[in-house]
Subunit: 251 residues, 2 copies
């Protein structure tokens, strides 16, 4: 069944009025018919199963048949701080970490980041494209909440933004000892949010690692192989999500 | 430091004679100089640190300075059975799972695989390209062993090839309960090899899942989100590798 995230304003008590671009997608791209069933999500955690009504004027409405609460989300929030990089790699990270369950993605620029310059202020079109990639990935993997994409910040600001609070893990290739399970053992046993940070192609500098540590971030390893920057980002989310699920199942 | 896997025949007691294509890469692509240090691997687990000697006739030799044993490999073998798919996705799976530590990749063709036809007998050029992708990934992530790529087999042959022996996990989106840690709890506590299987774009059929189960494969979940086929393959390796490392660290 096709799934669509719609703005909250599109939802009425027993009816959904699809926004223009989704109406277009339903009619022209997917070519769905009158009466077909789709799932509508409003990013509140609820899923509305609706039957489509293709009106004469080109708009599409949905009649709510059933409202259900699905549970495909991780029990806690996972924030990913990831270095800006080339378009293809960055978009791949957005897509894959959305599938893996990320809550929020915060791009940053550190000393060895491939992209510096005016990336802090990306044009509107680029931002819309990125958000669309995440929305499509969230629809495809049947998530009930949409992850958000924040504007890019400097490495220092990223580190400071959660300094002194919460459970913060920076994955560093020079760290050989501390694993995810060890880091979570020494942190708050029941965190509601975990921040994960993975570096640019050339890695973090020693000074950056020390800066993070002095601001309460733990330096953590992803295993003994050196991962490419995009692989490290997805590995950080997949392995931390796995560990969270495992801990939740413990008696 | 650049790293190169070379055939066993290229290695002599105190000297390495690089094969023609690596000599070309060293001279023309990387433009390394006489006297530079590189690491040479022969897929035995040993790493030889050598200094380059660029001879007059275009060949390259290396003088062994030191032989070390690195340990970046997982403590057990991880075999991945993965559905054949489009070129781009398949090559991506080869690269990423090599980084994540896979030992052996066995492509298969099941009912819903995108590729059927004569893929069982890929042309030599395609096979060489695939092997080169894995070798480059292994060099980049500093592995000491090269994973191997097997010829494609049918789903039934893949299932039967390890039937009745070892620890075999088939990841199925319809399985909601059994996790990797539960599957490993009920299996051999000290396996030397684990076989993992992830499906094609449309997933496994119910009949395929039952067939696998009747041949001793456990049906396992990768978490509550539906992953794309290529994401499932990397998630299976990353999460199982994580679990193996975690178990190894237990007292």
């Amino acid at each position: 069944m096709h799934r669509f995230f719609v703005p909250f304003e599109s939802i009425f008590e027993t009816k959904v009025v699809f926004p223009a671009e989704i109406s277009f997608q339903i009619r022209k791209v997917l070519r769905l018919s009158d009466g077909e069933k789709v799932a509508v999500l409003d990013n509140s955690g609820l899923t509305r199963l609706v039957t489509l009504e293709l009106t004469g004027n080109g708009s599409v409405e949905g009649v709510v048949q059933e409202t259900i609460r699905e549970n495909r989300e991780l029990p806690i929030h996972l924030d990913l701080y990831v270095s800006l990089t080339s378009r293809e790699k960055f978009e791949w990270v957005l897509q894959k970490t959305t599938e893996a369950g990320v809550s929020r993605i915060i791009p940053f620029i550190s000393e060895r980041s491939l992209i510096h310059g005016n990336e802090k202020d990306p044009d509107l079109k680029k931002q819309q494209r990125r958000v669309a990639i995440m929305r499509e990935a969230a629809e495809q993997c049947e998530r009930s909440l949409l992850p958000t994409l924040e504007p890019a910040v400097s490495f220092q600001d990223a580190i400071r933004s959660v300094s002194g609070t919460g459970t913060n893990l920076l994955f560093w290739e020079e760290e050989r000892e501390r694993t995810i399970w060890q880091a979570l053992d020494t942190a708050d046993r029941n965190p509601s949010r975990i921040s994960l940070m993975t570096g640019p192609e050339g890695g973090f500098t020693e000074m950056e690692a020390q800066f993070a540590q002095s601001h309460g971030w733990q330096l953590v390893t992803l295993g003994s192989r050196i991962l490419r920057m995009e692989t490290a980002a997805i590995a950080a989310i997949l392995q931390t999500a796995y560990e969270i699920d495992r801990r939740k199942s413990l008696p």
